[in-house]
Point group: C2
Chain length 334, copies 2
């Protein structure tokens, strides 16, 4: 990489002249500016990012800590973050916590050394189970703003982007109730994380409000064979005619299992699940889904963080933005 120094030497001017010329300073003569710019172009000069960061005490880089990159929703949020960040001239450094508290802490530690101007993150499962939040507070106290999305730690003072999880399952359940479904089961393999719990509560509320129907919940654990568990559950509860799934995997497996058991979807059984468009394209009939608008969440998260980074003034009064889900009706419901 060519530096200002080298350009200066070759042009027989000082470094500061070159710098000013390239930054269109009024101070420098037209002719000099032209000569400098020509040579700079010739050598494909680009200001060294690291030097700028050091000088400005700003890296124009965002640290993103994602629990699991293979989760489609999280990946999509990352996509949204990246897009918005790039648009605003920021890079993103990604750490994958792999749902581990330790790795989440490490990621925060590792990047809180001047590498980034702030963080966007979704809380790891283990951190939520153990309810640990000190590492977030420490980071914020070090002057690095955090924006949390989806799985947030409510007791940490920071900007947040969340989904209306409770309302989403409440509404979805009401939809199935409106179809006169009599035995609606809630299936989830995300019992331990905050959003999973909210989704269950939304379902419960709708069921209880309706009266006459008892809630029925199937919780799948990470180590379980989901296909087997759902199949035997369906066999034991022959009267199931509705499914609300808290996650795409449960939803897809439930739908396939129903079909496999000879049930007509949606005539005999109606299914709704949190899932993406591509997920619903991968089932037959297409799954009716609760869409989370992951990309939009990413966009908002990046906007919020960048705003916070740039306006040192806006301390205090943190925002929580709720991105509403949409129920996209496909062929797995009436």
């Amino acid at each position: 990489m060519v530096t200002l120094k080298q350009l200066a030497k070759e042009l027989n001017v000082s470094i500061s002249t070159v710098s000013k010329a390239l930054n269109n300073s009024e101070e420098i003569g037209e002719d000099t500016v032209r000569r400098v710019k020509e040579l700079a172009k010739l050598y494909n000069y680009k200001p060294n990012k690291v030097a700028l960061s050091l000088k400005n005490n700003k890296t124009k880089t965002i640290g993103v800590i994602i629990p699991n990159i293979l989760n489609r929703f999280l990946a999509k949020v990352l996509f949204g973050i990246e897009k918005e960040a790039t648009k605003q001239g920021y890079n993103i450094i990604t750490c994958i916590s792999n749902e581990s508290l330790e790795k989440e802490k490490e990621g925060l530690q590792l990047l809180a050394n001047g590498s980034v101007d702030g963080f966007i993150l979704s809380v790891a499962e283990e951190s939520q189970i153990k309810n640990e939040i000190e590492h977030f507070k420490d980071t914020i106290n070090q002057g690095l703003p955090i924006v949390m999305f989806d799985r947030v730690a409510h007791d940490v003072m920071c900007d947040k982007i969340i989904v209306d999880d409770f309302d989403a399952t409440y509404n979805a359940t009401q939809n199935l109730l409106a179809e006169k479904r009599k035995q609606i089961v809630f299936i989830s393999n995300i019992n331990d994380i905050s959003v999973g719990k909210l989704r269950e509560r939304g379902y419960n509320k709708a069921i209880l409000e309706h009266g006459s129907i008892a809630p029925l919940v199937l919780k799948i654990k990470k180590k379980d064979d989901a296909q087997k568990k759902i199949k035997s559950f369906f066999k034991k509860n022959k009267n199931i005619d509705g499914v609300i799934a808290a996650d795409s995997s449960s939803a897809i497996i439930a739908l396939n299992t129903a079909v496999n058991l000879g049930l007509k979807v949606p005539k005999d059984i109606s299914l709704i699940g949190f899932a993406s468009k591509s997920d619903s394209n991968h089932t037959l009939p297409k799954l009716t889904t609760i869409r989370q608008h992951a990309k939009v969440m990413g966009t908002h998260a990046a906007q919020l963080l960048i705003q916070r980074i740039q306006n040192t003034s806006t301390e205090g009064h943190f925002k929580t933005k709720i991105v509403k889900t949409s129920l996209v009706k496909n062929k797995s419901t009436l």
Copy 2:
């Protein structure tokens, strides 16, 4: 963030003394070392990464350019890269090219300003179609090593990690032939990228070698409704009894469609597709898959790049590592 300067001031010693003490230099007296370390710990001192990067002319950061983060395979490779990089003390800056040549160029440009020590990337679809490779060469000429994975540009001199795409479909097809399948169709929606073409060739070779059977290929385009297209294809070609799918989406849809049309899988029709474990868990019966060991590819890519970054000596003689696929037999084949 506390700096050496501040520690030095508080301890009434010079900056370099503090620096040396923290770096366990033999030069400094035990007592001083202790005092310095205590204060450093108290203030949670961490050396400023940016300053170190400037000093060492090394960022310990890898630029990763991914065509599509929603592609499970690519996401998994990213996961592998991140893990290995972290292990070796490197961070990763991620750019998403979104299959666009322009964005790929931008990503390269944007990070080739001192932000990263090298790149790991998979070539964007558009770049492969247009066969553009100058931007890769430029980057390499600037002294930044590149490691390409999966979709590689053969004419660029750099390290590469690839899949045995040709052999994979060749073998998979032979598997179906061994099941005495008479009409095996190759379905793909990745016709434009290098690996898609290789996969088709592997299929063709197996079919042609076998004689007596004609190759049958269904190409799906991005804009197509894959479900419709596959369904009508199956209806037109009632005698299809085998499917080789070049991508997971085609495989899943083909399997679901077959079931939907009343075909018994694998009795009436046998299916194999490039897909992940989770994909095969999301079909019923479980899909027999060609596994690409994406995570391992990521690991290798990171290792290769870091090695190249650290050994300035190893110029020339670039390696191409082939990560072999495995055929994991599940319930969609006999």
